[in-house]
């Protein structure tokens, strides 16, 4: 049983490969989800000790700081006039109407 447990934890835990898609969305999700997966994997591999509590604390901090950072970057970009593609297309459509 412990053999199965270790095989499962080694295989399921420690999956990585954060995703690479379109920039801000990728950064936000990549940070949050890949951090979660890696840290959960490490937690599975080290049982219920002080180490896993520290890992949970790291995960907690990362989950709160990375969305805040991504949101602040996007807000700053909007504030400085960096508009996405679709907004310009809508403006040109309205002018032709």
């Amino acid at each position: 049983m412990s053999g199965i447990f270790f095989a499962v934890t080694s295989a399921v835990g420690l999956f990585r490969l954060p995703d690479f898609f379109a920039r801000v969305h990728a950064a936000g999700i990549g940070d949050t989800v890949s951090a979660a997966l890696i840290i959960l994997g490490l937690m599975l591999n080290s049982g219920f000790t002080l180490i896993s509590i520290k890992l949970f604390y790291i995960l907690f901090l990362l989950w709160f700081t990375s969305p805040i950072s991504s949101h602040s970057v996007v807000k700053a970009a909007r504030h400085s006039g960096l508009e996405p593609f679709l907004v310009e297309k809508e403006k040109t459509n309205r002018k032709t109407d």
């Binding site: 954060p18 801000v24 890696i38 901090l61 990362l62 504030h79 400085s80 960096l82």
Partner: protein, 92 residues
């Protein structure tokens, strides 16, 4: 063995993020890339601590998470202030 593979994967992702930090057309892309780089550094420290079989590295990971966050917020504040000063110069 799996810790080694994870470390190598995180290093590859960090190289890709650095490429994005050099390319990215606007400055906000680069800020985002540096933020991601910091987060991946934290993960690398954590996994490397497990690789070396010395899990005290997790304390370093906690500290660097906070430092990374504070650094990014400071950089964003600085850029906002610089752009506001540039706007005032253009208007006046």
């Amino acid at each position: 063995m799996i810790y080694t593979v994870t470390c190598i994967a995180i290093l590859i992702v960090m190289i890709i993020i650095l490429v994005r930090a050099f390319c990215g057309p606007s400055i906000y892309d680069r800020i985002l890339a540096v933020n991601m780089f910091g987060t991946k550094t934290v993960l690398l420290i954590a996994v490397y601590g497990f690789l070396i079989d010395r899990p005290e590295f997790l304390d370093l990971a906690i500290v660097y998470t906070l430092i990374n966050f504070i650094g990014i917020v400071c950089v964003l504040n600085f850029i906002e202030r610089v752009e506001r000063m540039e706007d005032e110069e253009e208007h006046s």
